[in-house]
């Protein structure tokens, strides 16, 4: 048994070593190719972001502004910690969750009812902070902070003037607040390096996660953006939705790295294009329509 354990440990260590060697080799090759190639001042080069190693020095106080690379940026950013599984669902939550046929649960595209995968519908919040994390820009006005996501060109508005969250989302009457894709957000500095955002009022037809976790209008999501250094920003996200979950559910941890050039590619899923893709490629390939 001890020999077996030793074998497994050695195997995993070997895998780690080989992976590190492969990464190093890829980085070297890219650097060599990059050095010999003419560079465009208008393009994003992931190797530049990868080359920006280290923490870059201390984080500035109460400042998250800038453009950040996420896990799918090619910049070598750590993979996100995925939502906890299984989700702690109430009976109603399970009923809604069972309706959602997510590709990540092994469903083929032709059988999926993911509104984004089938129609390029907006992810909505909080899914847009944990799925397709490529690049994010944060900027601030005196009373608002904006989170700008390159994927689908989304912008979120976070009020920082001390106001409370709306309490009448989805109610009847002229002054009630209708739910929206990104919900209504307020933010505050917990300390000089930690910005806490709370959001409610998200459109209930959207999925909370890529895996099809549901949410209600009354869901309340808390994001904690913590800037550890100039180059490192980490966001943890939890959702409290007592109608659908028996306790607050952890939606994950998302890592970001500073992009030296502060630029990134544009990326939108286009409804007419996805219809062409599904009709000509994905549905026939998966035995669907």
């Amino acid at each position: 048994m001890r020999k077996a354990c030793t074998g497994i440990i050695a195997g995993v260590a070997g895998a780690l070593l080989l992976s590190a060697m492969a990464t190093a080799q890829t980085a070297q090759t890219n650097t060599a190719q990059t050095n010999n190639a003419p560079r465009s001042p208008w393009k994003y080069y992931p190797e530049d972001a990868r080359a920006n190693t280290g923490d870059g020095g201390p984080a500035p106080k109460r400042d998250l502004s800038g453009t950040w690379a996420g896990e799918s940026s090619g910049a070598g950013v750590r993979n996100i910690v995925r939502p906890e599984t299984p989700p702690p669902l109430t009976p109603l939550g399970k009923q809604l969750f069972d309706r959602n046929k997510a590709e990540s649960s092994g469903v083929l595209i032709a059988q999926s009812n993911d509104p984004h995968v089938r129609y390029c519908d907006p992810f909505g919040f909080p899914r847009n902070m944990t799925d397709q994390i490529r690049s994010m820009t944060i900027t601030a006005l005196p009373e608002r902070t904006f989170v700008l996501l390159k994927f689908m060109n989304v912008w979120r508005e976070i009020w920082t003037d001390g106001r409370a969250l709306p309490t009448n989302v989805g109610a009847r009457g002229r002054d009630a607040h209708d739910p929206t894709y990104n919900g209504y957000s307020i933010g505050r500095w917990e300390d000089d390096f930690t910005f806490v955002v709370e959001t409610t009022g998200m459109a209930p037809e959207t999925w909370a996660t890529e895996g099809g976790y549901p949410h209600s209008i009354d869901a309340r999501v808390t994001e904690r953006f913590h800037r550890e250094s100039k180059n490192d920003l980490t966001m943890t996200i939890t959702m409290d939705d007592p109608k659908l979950y028996t306790r607050p559910v952890k939606l994950g941890t998302v890592y970001f790295r500073w992009i030296p050039s502060q630029t990134f590619f544009d990326f939108s899923c286009v409804p007419s294009s996805v219809q062409m893709y599904l009709k000509e490629m994905a549905d026939p390939a998966s035995g669907g329509k």
Partner: protein, 142 residues
């Protein structure tokens, strides 16, 4: 012997964990990812540079002289750009060798793996499978 077997199994499991495709947008469950089909001398008929997935269409003449009309998807335009692609990397009329993970249904459709051009250079997809933002492959024409 048993220890050696376990070590090998753990090593392979470890490598799989690091290199397995991420099912970020549209997954690959529909494709046979064991061995890519090789379409030598295929003629590109269309390169459709769209999101969520660019599509390559190509005609391939089989050994009996029948023309198969293929279609294959890549990672997203952004993931492809991260490894050196743009909308003109392949073009109609290019005579190339295409490697493609064919649909399990047997349709002439699949996940694009790599292309070999007439001059011997190669461009790969983001990786053999999912759309991971270009981490797994450098993909520069070489």
């Amino acid at each position: 012997m048993k220890t050696k077997f376990l070590m090998t199994a753990a090593l392979l499991a470890g490598l799989a964990a690091f290199d397995s495709p991420s099912l970020a947008h549209h997954g690959n469950a529909a494709f046979n990812l064991t061995t890519p089909v090789v379409l030598k001398g295929a003629v590109v008929t269309e390169f459709i540079w769209i999101n969520p997935h660019p599509l390559i269409k190509a005609d391939y003449k089989d050994e009996k002289g029948n023309v198969q009309q293929w279609i294959m998807e890549m990672g997203s335009t952004v993931s492809a750009q991260l490894i050196g692609w743009n909308r003109t990397t392949v073009a109609p009329g290019d005579v190339v060798t295409l490697y493609v993970w064919q649909a399990k249904t047997g349709a002439f459709a699949g996940r694009f793996n790599k292309v070999e051009f007439a001059d011997g250079t190669t461009m790969r997809d983001t990786q053999t499978g999912g759309d991971d933002g270009g981490r797994a492959d450098r993909g520069v024409r070489q």
